[in-house]
Amino acid sequence: MFDFITFRWDGEFALSILPQLLRAAVITLQATVVGFALAVVIGLAFALLRRGPRPISWPAGFVVEFLRSTPLLVQLYVLYFLLPAYGIRFDAFTTGVIGLGLHYGAYLSEVYRAGIASVDEGQWEAATALNFGRLHIWRTIVLPQAVPPMVPAFGNYFIVMFKETPLLSAITVTELMQTAKIIGSRSFNYVEPYTLVGAIFFLMSYPAALLVNRLEARLARNR
């Protein structure tokens, strides 16, 4: 029975589960990195679609607003339990990563939108006067100017996403949270695994946050 008064931190137990948790941390990181890479691509696609003609921009806008205003957890459940009913089947990790990519892609599309809008109209005009094709204008003139000021916002979303990955445990991805849960239910010791999970998250996200702050400061200086 668990007793607050007599509870003692079991160092030996903590040490014994650390390797398993660190392996799970790798899964968490992988989900974050792959999910974010997907979000970067999806976000750009959403941003570009929303600039298109109305029959394209309206549905795209609706999807973005929908993704932003419903919980990620619900979206994960939908992907995990509903899609297989329609014959679309992915493993838990892939499903989780797609969920993260869509959800954060919707948020990043707003970051892209602001970044693209910050590029001076004169850049488009000069590029048109030089007769560049649309694709070339996007690739070599607009995006290279739009993206650098977006980097801090991207960094922040990356960290937020990292901290949201425990939601993937709801669809059985064995990332950090799920692993801690498994250890807890096996050993009836929940305190050590969850404490370690918290510590691992902190040790990874705090330096990342510092890095983003420094990037932001440097960008502000270069302006």
Binding site: G122, Q123, E125, A126, T128, A129, L130, F132, I141, Q145
Partner: protein, 272 residues
């Protein structure tokens, strides 16, 4: 000079005397504002035309319509024998698509009031980018062309600089070199010195003057610099209310304008 620019055979081969640019009945409205009114306006090959007129009279809009930055509401524009906003299908003219615009646009270049250099590219690449990716020049050819032009505008030592490291006058000279690198038949200048500190105006005007003397490129110059317009223009066009109110050789317009609006305008601008 235009050897490397592929100009597709025009629908009806233009004579040497045919205008390089022709506006016929061109209208443009911004909401309730009728900015270009049934505008008829020609520019001869190699002709240097200065456009003057009060603020808001539509001078910038003519250039932007010709550069395809603003689509006119109605009317026809013909550039070097080809319709700009229309495509000929049989005997009918249909609205042009982007592909057609790109084809006709190769004949036209523009220099902007605010330079609009690409800030993330060095000076040299600002000038080589379009010749390489639009005209299909090799990197070596484009670099050679760009270097020559940048030397011509007195910036042979700034090839590796970023635009932010240049003065306004230097930026505008790069912008001129960048537009020239495309070897257009018509070059548009929209108040290219009005964003410059007064002491930098001369260096830019002297380059445009040099271009005007060299000859074979038609130039449409919107300017508030009256003495400059008088010096270099073959023809001065006084624009008022979206129409050509008066035009003629600089000597006539500046010494004996017949239209009272022109007289009024010149009196106002020449006074200070």
């Amino acid at each position: 000079m235009h050897a490397t620019v592929d100009t597709p055979a025009p629908t009806s081969a233009p004579d040497a005397g045919d205008p390089i640019v022709r506006f016929r009945g061109v209208n443009k409205r911004f909401g309730d504002l009728h900015v270009l009114r049934d505008l008829d306006f020609d520019v001869g090959p190699a002709e240097k035309v200065a456009i003057i007129g009060p603020s808001g009279s539509g001078k910038t809009t003519i250039l932007r319509v010709l550069m395809t930055l603003v689509r006119p509401d109605s009317g026809e524009i013909v550039v070097d024998g080809e319709h700009l906003y229309h495509r000929r299908v049989g005997d009918r003219l249909v609205p042009a698509d982007e592909r057609h615009l790109r084809k006709v646009r190769t004949n036209i270049g523009m220099v902007f009031q605010h330079f609009n250099l690409f800030p993330h590219m060095r000076v040299l690449r600002n000038v080589t980018e379009a010749p390489i990716h639009v005209l299909g020049l090799s990197k070596a050819e484009a670099t050679e062309r760009a270097t020559g032009l940048l030397e011509m505008v007195g910036l042979g030592d700034k090839l590796d600089a970023y635009p932010s490291q240049l003065s306004g006058g230097q930026k505008q000279r790069v912008a001129i070199a960048r537009a020239l690198a495309m070897r257009p038949k018509v070059m548009l200048f929209d108040e290219v010195t009005s964003a410059l500190d007064p002491e930098l105006v001369g260096e830019v005007l002297s380059i445009i003057r040099k271009l005007a003397e060299e000859g074979d490129m038609a130039m449409l110059i919107v300017t508030h610099e009256m003495s400059f317009a008088r010096d270099i223009a073959d023809r001065v066009v006084f624009f008022d209310n979206g129409q050509v109110a008066e035009q003629g050789p600089p000597a006539d317009i500046f010494t004996a304008p017949s239209n009272p609006r022109t007289q009024e305008f010149l009196k106002a601008v020449l006074q200070h």
